[in-house]
Assembly symmetry: D2
Homo-oligomer: 310 residues x 4
């Protein structure tokens, strides 16, 4: 699989240096006060593979809020609990919001949110679960998928999310008013805020990435956590929608199913299978970890991890 | 690579039967009169692989207009003529038009068209070529990429396109007015109409798909026609943007880089590498060949061609 | 002022017949169950002028919910309580061309709602009052402006509004998230729902129209309730924005400052000065009382009430 | 009619001083080179009334391009040539709240442009005339309505309009593609460019305003040029849509039917009847003559010209 004579360890060390150097050129998220407290120079990479190998460089144990990477867990929970058909009758899986010949999109023929990786889609998805799973159960599911029993709710981040979450409330009430959401908007948004506020680290995200990459089986326990079909669906949706407005460019340049969060996390489900978790709270203009993206460009190129490499 | 004990031939025969059966349930495009004349029951599949194997079933020689599949050729021409950086400084490669938290997109921060697979993007892309390549040269390039010296301009389709192309003209003038397009809008749109009106067949599209799948080398002559990097970029963009508003669902369910056209054609650049061309002018609601999509679902599942299969 | 030798009484009688006849051709609002119970054939007109003359024809005493006519009272309250400059630093006075419940325009360069006659604008306006006036005080103000001490909250309509008001909640949270609204969204929307649920009759609306038409003075008591400048502002905004998506056509064809509500009410502040209240719950496609609009066309033409008549 | 003991002459002199002083604080239009050449300090007012009185102060004879004020003439021509019903079956009369060159609203449920005072509406309106009137006839009609036989086409402005008019071409082709426009887009846009490029002065616009204010009769010749109903319609549409995105605020604060153009002209059809033409090429952020608006605020207040004054 490797491109060159470099060892995997060497490639990751180089990537770590690249990411570390890139970090200070970005900007820590400040839309909620808790995020603004992160150290912009922090950077860490963790790699786990199916054979039990691991690499950990830099701030791998630092806890940060999962933010949008939690959307992957929400989607996984919905797929496992409700199945593919039921889930995708309430949210689409389209990266593109525009009709092929649209000049400007004013309204859509389909009121369902475009995909579960945007806020509207994640809020809609979690609303489907809101009367089937408590937050406690979602937290437990998150711990299992991340192989990390220490994940907990960061109460300060949650309080911030709750206080500043009016746009998400607007989205929920709009979905409710259109009849797309049938659950209670406040409860759905509250669950969503909590799932954004989970305190994870780069290692947790590597583990999550590895499970998705393997096709849904926990490599430590051998237990199946996600069906193979659902894991594949998640990989595809991470690939097409995982990096905000940079998703297309990232899929061309890096080509690894990845989900980012404004907390600075990146969760990659790479070929191998290999899970890669990155942490770098300094963000680029798209809201993705600047160091994380730079590091992944290097790793993908050197280890030939691009999904479309022949 | 295969899923089962079935031979490739058998899988394609089954797919052909599925596509043939599905065809009459769709609707032939009628926005231009010439397209409406197609036989809704026509269906054909052609497979070519790098080892020289080929399968041809049904209406494989029937000529039809390439329509949006021509966008793949336009993109390839721009990449080869101008390079990656220059091309993508004038058109984006994003499948998603919406900010991650958008409720409704009203205007974009970036005036460039979202990607080269939508009309605005293809018109913008061809405008970049309009003072560097004549239509004659673009036609020659198309013949080479499709391994089909008989491709010619369908004058009736072109006349129809020209007469009914006012929305495309509006798009071109809008791009011009924003300073995104610097070439002449009329000339650009005219070239675009011509590239939509090339008369191809399922075999031509299979050949085109094979070249893209191989990484840019013509398997018959061994000549490199597209750089490997460009071929990969084209595969990714076909994957994320190739099937109109069904692109996301197709990428999940079929997972093969594919571009469709309302003329009924499908061009697939599959693993193997394998090129698959399909023809079925009866379309689904998204504008994709109904039989073609059904056939590809079968083929991808049976031959495990999904790009994200582990 | 009159056009012809007909008496005012005769013109109103003719208008009443026209409105009564037109009524059954429309459709009673049914987006909340309580509204759907109205008698589609009901129709009534009440005219009051500054000299104490009055005309009352048909269902003049029937109570119905004020709905959007309440926006006029909300605007008057804000102008009196906060003044012109403060009010219009938080909401614009531009006709919008959008549907009454549009969210679209809230994502434009100026985040303020376009005007106080659309839902977003009325919710924003009442939010400015939410910590300065209780509902009890707003109710009392409404009774005074309508010369009708019997106006009360229709609890069933309010309950319906509250239950089905998710789009309005979405609007409020969106305004809050943009920093346009600083008050509590839930409290603001609740006040708004209550102000939509006041039980008025055609006579109340005629009185309200008369006060606005006179320039703000209660003709019965001689007491000034609204400053002359504010009354003029209200008349202009009723003229340009009062009839939903039919505002422009109504201003050309009828030309009388008028506000309609989906409860079937019409409040007109006509030259003279004259206040005209109409009730006809059968609505046209724009949400305006069908009989009411037809009757006003006749009255305006016969009595030359068009504001732009020379 | 007057507010005070001041003479009309004195009010206009004061208004002239106010306008002159305000002028340099704005910005001359520069989207076409010819407009940028205007003297930002120039300012002029001309008043004509039905009794033959006239006031002329400052740059009253300076020629400038009519720009959007020409939309009033286009509308008048359509109403006279095609009648009210035919005209307004192809363009609406709803104020839009959109920028003058917006394309947004052309993708709504009603494909007709919102009103004849935005570019889309004016282009659509002139397209209705394009096979019924030559530019020569439109020019002659303009000269008559403006009482100014010296109006001619400013060839330089026209050339500029033609060269930079791609957004207007986009609008025309979009209308054509939707079937709203049936005439030739290029010819329609060309006529529109020409009608924007007429060289008028403040006196011409005062004359035009007076004819509209009187109800359509030329006060010099006694000849009826526009029916009374059409003149009223034009006054209403000027009132609700005449001042770009400032229309609502202007209608509240000034309250005189007025149309502005980015050439610096203002045409007012005031009560009296009185026609007022203003010229001040220095514009505010909305594209209206800064001095002109300030002067009209003063004149309307002092002479009580607000249409909604009681």
């Amino acid at each position: 699989m490797q491109n060159s004579s470099k060892s995997i360890e060497q490639v990751f060390r180089e990537a770590y240096e690249i990411g570390l150097k890139a970090a200070p050129t970005g900007k820590v998220a400040d839309y909620i006060p808790e995020l603004a407290k992160a150290d912009p120079n922090a950077f860490g990479i963790c790699m786990l593979d199916a054979k039990g190998r691991s690499i950990a460089l830099g701030s791998v144990e630092t806890r940060f809020s999962i933010q949008s990477v939690g959307k992957v867990i929400i989607l996984a929970a919905a797929l496992e609990k409700l199945g593919f058909d039921e889930t995708f009758s309430h949210v689409m899986m389209e990266p593109s919001g525009d009709s092929f010949n649209s000049i400007l999109k004013l309204d859509t023929r389909d009121d369902r949110p475009f995909n579960p990786m945007i806020n509207a889609g994640a809020i809609q998805t979690i609303s489907l679960l809101s009367d089937k799973m408590s937050f406690g159960e979602l937290l437990e599911f998150s711990r299992t998928l991340c192989g990390d029993p220490n994940i907990s709710l960061d109460e300060k981040v949650y309080a911030s999310e709750y206080q500043t979450g009016d746009r998400n409330r607007a989205i929920a009430y709009l979905l409710k008013s259109k009849g797309v959401m049938t659950a209670d908007p406040e409860r759905s948004v509250d669950l969503y805020f909590k799932m954004c506020s989970l305190a994870v680290n780069a290692r947790s995200l590597a583990y999550l990435g590895l499970i998705i990459a393997t096709g849904g089986v926990d490599p430590m326990t051998g237990r199946r956590l996600i069906t193979e079909e659902h894991a594949e669906t998640i990989r595809v949706i991470m690939f097409t929608c995982g990096m905000y407005d940079y998703s297309g460019k990232y899929s061309v340049r890096v080509g690894v199913p990845t989900k980012s969060g404004v907390g600075g996390g990146l969760c990659c489900a790479a070929k191998g299978p290999m899970g890669i978790g990155l942490y770098g709270p300094s963000l680029d203009n798209f809201g993705n970890s600047r160091g994380g993206v730079k590091a992944m460009e290097h790793i993908s190129r050197e280890l030939k991890l691009h999904m479309f490499d022949v």
